[in-house]
Every structure is written in C-alpha cells, then in structure tokens.
Symmetry: C2
Subunit: 101 residues, 2 copies
C-alpha cells in the first residue's frame, strides 16, 4: 500500500498552510470537513474533476491541514484540527469563520 | 502621477489575502509594518531585489492587505488594519501571531 506522507507538527509551516487555504475549492473542502466531519475524497460537493480533487487533497495533506487514511478503496480525509491548533492557535477557526462570511 | 489601484472593502477576498500572506517575504513585510508602522518601500529589511520588492508590494496592495501612497519619490506602505478587521475579524492578528512563533 502506498504510504501517504504527512508532515510532523514541527514541519507544518504557516506559509504552506496559508497557501493551501488560499484556493476557493480547497477552502470549501476544509469547510465541508469542519461542518460534517471526515469524508471520503469523492464525497465533497465541489465542481472539479477527480484528478483535480486528488491534487487539492495532496496540497492540503502536504501542508499539514488534512490527514488522509486509506480504507479499502477509499481515501478518508480528516482535518488536523488539534495539530493546527497546537501549532497556530486560533488560525483555522478564524479562517473558517472568515470564509463563511 | 500613476494612480495605484486599491480594492474597496467588499472586494477584498479571503483567498487573495491568504495568497498574499502565504509568501515568507511578504509575511515579513507585513510583520515589519505591524511592528514599526508605515514604511517607505525601500526601508524593509528583506533580502530581495528592488523589482522583486515591487512585485511583493503590488501583490499585497491588490489583495487589499496594504495601502500604498506616493510621497515625492517614495512609496509609503501602510497596513489596512481597520479594513481587514472589518472584513475578516481577527484574521490579521492571528496570522501575525502565528508568524511570530
């Protein structure tokens, strides 16, 4: 099974997190997980092709914003809420609040 | 005199602000203004060429993060703290705090 790399806490960098969240589709994915909990990749209601979705999920994972685990044939995507809160207190809640306005 | 475009409050978009702040040099410029107040373009202590600096300041201005005014031969750069606070409450303070860690 392919091992998916996730950065350790200390290797989560602010610029990468901001970059990952600076795209409207990725922001929508993150909002969706925040609202409904972890989701399979193909469950997000965003108007993009599968390959584009794969790219967005990878960007979020490599930035340390989401955790992806393989379950059978599915990739389940969860927010790294606690890690982000530990690394950058209040950053994710404030960005989510800003994006909802 | 060249008129510099600044987006109106309602035209400041979260994704553009996050994109503008997702670069380490631009983040450093913003931190510098937050700490020392408005500054001429050439006063920032960042290791970039003048043309690169011009690009960074333009990116910040077009995203609505900074206000640039021409004073003689100088471009004075200020943070749009109140506008950002009105549009996305707590976003800039939280990002500045995160970047200082």
């Amino acid at each position: 099974m392919k091992i998916l790399h996730h950065p350790q806490l200390a290797d989560i960098h602010l610029c990468s997190v901001l970059q990952a969240l600076s795209d409207p589709i990725r922001l929508q994915i993150v909002q969706d997980i925040a609202a409904r909990g972890e989701q399979p990749c193909n469950n997000f209601n965003v108007p993009v092709a599968k390959s584009t979705m794969t790219h967005h999920i990878r960007t979020l994972r490599e930035a340390g914003v989401v955790q992806v685990r393989v379950q059978g044939t599915q990739h389940i995507v969860a927010l790294r809420t606690e890690d982000l809160q530990a690394r950058f207190p209040e950053l994710l809640p404030v960005i989510l609040k800003s994006s909802a306005e």
